[in-house]
């Protein structure tokens, strides 16, 4: 297998899924009508409801759904099961489930006055669905924040050449916000300046490696080389598990990330979060664009970086830790989330994108098209790790992507630096947004019961403290799989809601209903397997050794997994009852569509 063949398979998947399946559902089941007025045209307020050109909206929606998820999921899955199961799930997932989830979330919102999924669930399913959704969202964010902070701290600590670039990225983000919103500088000039300086800092990372390496060594000398926390990590020693140590330097970088996220969470969004995301976007987009094109032509130009070197298949149930189980079903289907299907896309699509749809004919290219494009991003990540193969999964990804970029004549050390930076930047900028959203969710959820959490500083610090507790368990793979479970369950619930809506308006519900059942059963099973793994692989060994920090952290993770399962069962029962209610009822006569002005 080589990268050109994989890129061709990916492009064919996108083409066939869109033309043979998605378009047919759009025409025959949903019957999108370009003459029907959309909420954007009916309720235009110039801000939320705003008719927008489909190409602009495609770019906006794609950027909003594509970030670190498709990259990390593919990396982890390829490391655990091999590249073949990963690529098969990506292709089947996006073709039959992923695009349908993203597209139908936009459809259901457009056909329900631009309402959010929770508002529609309140109306169609049951009032308590909204509260359960809060639980999902908060823990979803907590899990992914814990996983991302853990990954980032490890990468930053072990790769001193990347740290300078991150510091400059932060400074340039702050400068960009000031230039755009205060000094009213043009976007193009400000972009060239800030992105250019950040790129130079990333490429000059090798120059600063010695300085930051010395800083790490100095920090570790503070405790005389002794670790702050010791824990059992089932990921080590070739997935057999071994003792792991959290050194002062790792804690320092974890806290530095938290400080960055705290600032991103409490400062006005234009001041830091938004411009940092923007600068980071250019870095990542450059690396990914060059990488994807490089992967396509590498077979002709530089064949040595185009051959897959990891095994195609590592087994149905690879060993992870002494007592853990990692069966391909259901675990692969939550490990790779965003490149195949993601619940967050549905949430965002319903409130962010649906209200800007100018024309019903745009729903498919924007919703389905963006998801199919994101699949290509996940495919690129999978290819990079499949050809990289050196060291830890993240390092393998950076090596592989660096190889693809080097096809264009970029020296390999700079290409690898850019690939590493792309990974770090995309995870880092998303993490600051996660904490921002967590604080909003926490204050909305518990603000009435615990008034202090309405304060943005308190809510941010509570969120960060919880995430750090999870990081100190050290097992980010389980955190990632729990996050994947929560994310996929949200997707299942979104598809369930669409199924209920389709039944309520007398349409064929199978295109959403069958994926909803599959994802629902799979993700509940995956959450239970993960809870089992955490208990036997992390909780028990650390309890036996009397290490309380990882015990508390892993105990919290088991609790979260069980809570998510309970919440899913509640929504499932409510959804099934609503579905039966609407199926028994005769289909309503179609309302005359509001005509476009």
């Amino acid at each position: 297998m080589n990268t050109l063949l994989a890129v061709i398979i990916g492009a064919l998947t996108v083409y066939l899924a869109y033309t043979l399946y998605a378009r047919r559902i759009d025409r025959r089941v949903i019957q999108s009508d370009p003459k029907r007025a959309t909420p954007a045209t009916l309720y235009m307020d110039g801000v939320d409801f705003m008719p927008t050109n489909r190409n602009i909206l495609f770019g906006y929606h794609f950027k909003s759904i594509a970030a670190a998820g498709p990259i990390i999921g593919a990396i982890v899955a390829a490391s655990l099961w091999g590249w073949l199961p990963a690529i098969i799930w990506l292709i089947l997932g996006v073709s039959f489930i992923g695009w349908a989830s993203d597209y139908s979330a936009i459809v259901i919102s457009v056909r329900n006055d631009g309402n959010s999924l929770s508002a529609i669930a309140h109306k169609l399913v049951s009032p308590r669905t909204r509260t359960v959704l809060f639980v999902f969202i908060f823990f979803y964010l907590l899990l992914v924040a814990g996983a991302f902070v853990g990954i980032m701290a490890t990468v930053l600590e072990s790769q001193p050449k990347t740290q300078f670039g991150v510091i400059v990225l932060t400074a340039m983000g702050l400068l960009l916000g000031q230039m755009l919103y205060r000094w009213r500088t043009g976007l193009v000039g400000a972009t060239v300046l800030t992105v250019g300086i950040t790129m130079l800092a990333i490429l000059a990372g090798g120059w600063s490696e010695g300085i930051f390496g010395a800083l790490n060594a100095g920090l570790n000398n503070l405790t005389g080389g002794a670790p702050i926390v010791t824990y059992f990590d089932p990921m080590l020693a070739g997935f057999k598990g071994a003792e792991a140590k959290i050194m002062p330097s790792l804690l320092f970088w974890a806290l530095a990330i938290c400080a960055f996220c705290y600032a991103g969470s409490v400062l006005p969004i234009w001041r830091m979060a938004q411009p940092v995301v923007y600068v980071g976007f250019w870095i990542t987009a450059t690396a990914m664009f060059l990488g994807l094109l490089g992967a396509a032509v590498a077979g002709f130009v530089k064949p040595e970086v185009a051959q897959f070197v990891i095994p195609a298949f590592r087994g149905w149930n690879p060993q992870l830790g002494p007592s853990g189980i990692m069966p391909l079903w259901p675990m692969l289907f939550v490990t790779i989330a965003c490149g195949a299907i993601s619940g967050w896309h549905a949430l965002f699509g319903a409130v962010g994108t649906a209200r800007q749809i100018e024309n019903e004919a745009d729903m498919l290219p924007v919703g389905g098209g963006s998801m199919l494009t994101e699949f290509l991003l996940a495919l690129l990540a999978l290819l990079a790790v499949a050809v990289g193969a050196k060291g830890a999964p993240v390092a393998a990804f950076a090596t592989g992507l660096g190889g693809f970029i080097s096809v264009w004549g970029v020296p390999i050390q700079y290409a690898t630096s850019l690939a590493f930076a792309a990974f770090i930047v995309i995870v880092l900028v998303v993490t600051q947004l996660l904490f921002r959203v967590m604080r909003v969710t926490l204050s909305e959820w518990l603000g009435d019961v615990i008034p202090p959490v309405r304060n943005q500083h308190v809510a941010s610090l509570v969120s960060i403290a919880l995430a750090i507790l999870l990081v100190l368990t050290g097992t980010w793979v389980y955190l990632w799989q729990l996050f994947g479970g929560a994310n996929q369950l949200m997707a299942a619930l979104s598809l369930l809601l669409v199924t209920v809506w389709l039944a309520s308006v007398g349409k064929n519900w199978l295109f959403a209903g069958l994926p909803a059942i599959f994802m629902y059963v799979t993700t509940i099973a995956a959450l239970l397997v993960t809870a089992y793994n955490i208990y036997f692989n992390v909780y028990q060994p650390n309890m036996a050794a009397g290490r309380m920090v990882p015990v508390v952290g892993s105990g919290l993770m088991v609790l979260v997994a069980l809570l998510l399962v309970a919440a899913a069962i509640m929504i499932g029962i409510d959804g099934w009852r609503a579905f039966q209610r609407y199926r028994r009822r005769p289909a309503p006569a179609p309302k005359p569509a509001a005509a476009r002005a």
């Binding site: 110039g46 705003m50 602009i56 909003s64 965003c338 967050w344 965002f348 996660l434």
Partner: protein
């Protein structure tokens, strides 16, 4: 020379690509700037609220000077105020994917 249909198609493709890139990059800033202006305009709306409901809160001379600017926005403002909003709709909830 290329046939007209080909050049038209290339031009349309370039335009679509340009819009796609704008959607990826500058559109978010434009939306946020609009949202900031919307917040500012809401303040002026509140200033003229008294006159809208027939209870002069401010000396009418100021409202009268503002009215020509806010009248075109009144319908959209009323809809915005009346719409029940979910916590998911907060600006700060924009996660830009995970």
């Amino acid at each position: 020379m290329l046939p007209r249909s080909v050049t038209d198609r290339v031009a349309r493709l370039r335009e679509a690509a340009g819009r796609f890139v704008y959607g990826l990059t500058g559109y978010e800033f434009a939306r946020h700037a609009l949202a900031m202006r919307h917040e500012m305009e809401a303040v002026f709306m509140v200033v003229t609220l008294g006159d809208l409901i027939g209870v002069p809160v401010l000396p009418p001379v100021y409202s009268v000077r503002l009215l020509p600017y806010v009248v075109p926005q009144i319908a959209a403002w009323k809809r915005d105020m009346a719409r029940r909003k979910e916590f998911l709709e907060k600006d700060e909830y924009d996660l830009h994917a995970v």
